[in-house]
């Protein structure tokens, strides 16, 4: 998926995460993580984001993550929503979402 604009999803409420996706062509994936649990789960959050971007086939994106202790499934959900918004695509391809 090609990022064509800025897309944001999520909230700054406890147990949620706010993710903003911007174009980063041609510099690949860059992740700016700010988390209340960064020390304990920083690596895991990075892994979840990279894995999700991989199956969405996003090659170049700047990902800003403000995490308030979200579960992995919430991080994935917010990232997918932000990516689709940033790609300007309204119809989700549910066949590839697991």
């Amino acid at each position: 998926m090609k990022i064509v604009k800025t897309g944001t999803a999520g909230t700054l409420e406890s147990s949620d995460v706010m993710i903003t996706v911007r174009s980063n062509e041609p510099h690949g994936i860059e992740i700016a993580l700010n988390s209340i649990v960064e020390k304990q789960f920083g690596k895991q959050i990075h892994a979840v984001i990279r894995k999700t971007l991989e199956y969405l086939k996003v090659k170049d994106a700047y990902i800003e993550v403000q995490d308030k202790g979200a579960l992995d499934c919430a991080i994935e959900a917010r990232l997918i929503t932000a990516v689709y918004r940033a790609a300007g695509i309204k119809k989700i391809n549910w066949e590839v979402i697991e």
């Binding site: 579960l71 499934c73 919430a74 959900a77 917010r78 997918i80 929503t81 549910w94 979402i97």
Partner: protein, 302 residues
């Protein structure tokens, strides 16, 4: 097979990550993730994805999961069905159901998605909320529109507006609708759920309403806060006297069967089929309320 108890169906706004995460810890009988009225138009996509991912990932400890989708008369209903069938909650709840055709169309779309995802047809159950005078008039045809429907619910807010009135503490303005919905549900052999009580600060008023709907015959109530679970379960729990009588009824039935005798009596009162059914229901409720050992009285299945 014993019917599942559905005394409390806890509303959880579909775009609230924290509330979804914690939904199972309060032990309501069912959890209803809402994609409809609690989600703003701009966040419909986000809520749908959040509920989808949580349903796929979390263990809700055997608690029944229901998703309230947007109606098919909105731009969101079809997408909700496509996503939610793949997420596989126990059931999909349709809002603002006016007639049987509303159910039939949703069922058709659910079946298409089940097939696409390799899910056995009929796996996803349905329930319908009746929120209009027309829906109340059509309650029985809605209740019987699909084999998937396990329950119908009355939603009062839209209904009273359409009736040109408003809610009162006594609820006289929705007495007919409540009676019509519970009667239709019983005639169809499915569950009946009452509307929400939104004044969280009025505990006395809430308890009075729960006692009323229990007396009318409802299985339970949609609730908007975990704080409402305890009072509902308490009011629906049978008394020690009810339990003792129910146990005596079922013992007498077993004894009569062993002896091959016909008509029996307990405390001088003739015991017939409705009394046996009520006794079984009392013991199911007692078991669910933790008032019985799990095996006590619960194995009387015939």
């Amino acid at each position: 097979m014993k019917e599942k108890l559905r005394r409390t169906m806890l509303y959880v706004p579909g775009n609230n990550a924290g509330m979804i995460r914690d939904a199972a810890i309060y032990h309501s009988d069912s959890i209803m993730f809402d994609l409809e009225d609690s989600v703003s138009y701009r966040q419909k996509d986000a809520a749908r994805m959040l509920v989808f991912k949580n349903l796929r990932a979390l263990d809700f400890e055997g608690i029944e999961t229901v998703v309230r989708i947007n109606g098919l008369d909105t731009p969101y209903g079809k997408d909700d069905i496509e996503a939610m069938v793949k997420a596989q909650p126990d059931a999909i709840r349709l809002p603002k159901t006016n007639c049987a055709e509303d159910i039939i169309e949703v069922e058709r779309l659910i079946a298409v998605e089940e097939q696409k995802n390799g899910i056995a047809e009929g796996t996803i159950k349905m329930m319908a909320a009746i929120e209009s005078p027309l829906g109340v008039i059509n309650a029985y045809s809605i209740a019987t529109a699909s084999e998937r429907i396990f329950g119908i619910a009355i939603g009062a807010e839209d209904y009273v507006t359409a009736m040109k009135t408003k809610r009162s503490p006594e609820g006289v303005e929705i007495l007919y609708a409540r009676s019509a919905v519970v009667t239709a549900a019983r005639a169809a052999g499915i569950c009946a759920f009452d509307t929400v009580y939104s004044d969280l600060s009025n505990e006395k008023g809430f308890a009075e309403e729960v006692r009323l709907i229990k007396q009318l015959g409802f299985d339970g109530k949609s609730i908007i806060s975990p704080r409402q679970i305890g009072p509902v379960h308490e009011i629906f729990a049978p008394t020690a006297k009810d339990i003792a009588f129910a146990q005596r009824v079922l013992e007498a039935i077993d004894e009569a069967k062993t002896k091959g005798s016909g008509v029996i009596a307990v405390n001088g009162k003739m015991i017939d089929k409705p009394i046996v059914e009520r006794a079984e229901r009392v013991l199911e409720l007692a078991a669910a309320s933790g008032l019985l050992r799990p095996t006590e009285g619960a194995d009387h299945a015939e």
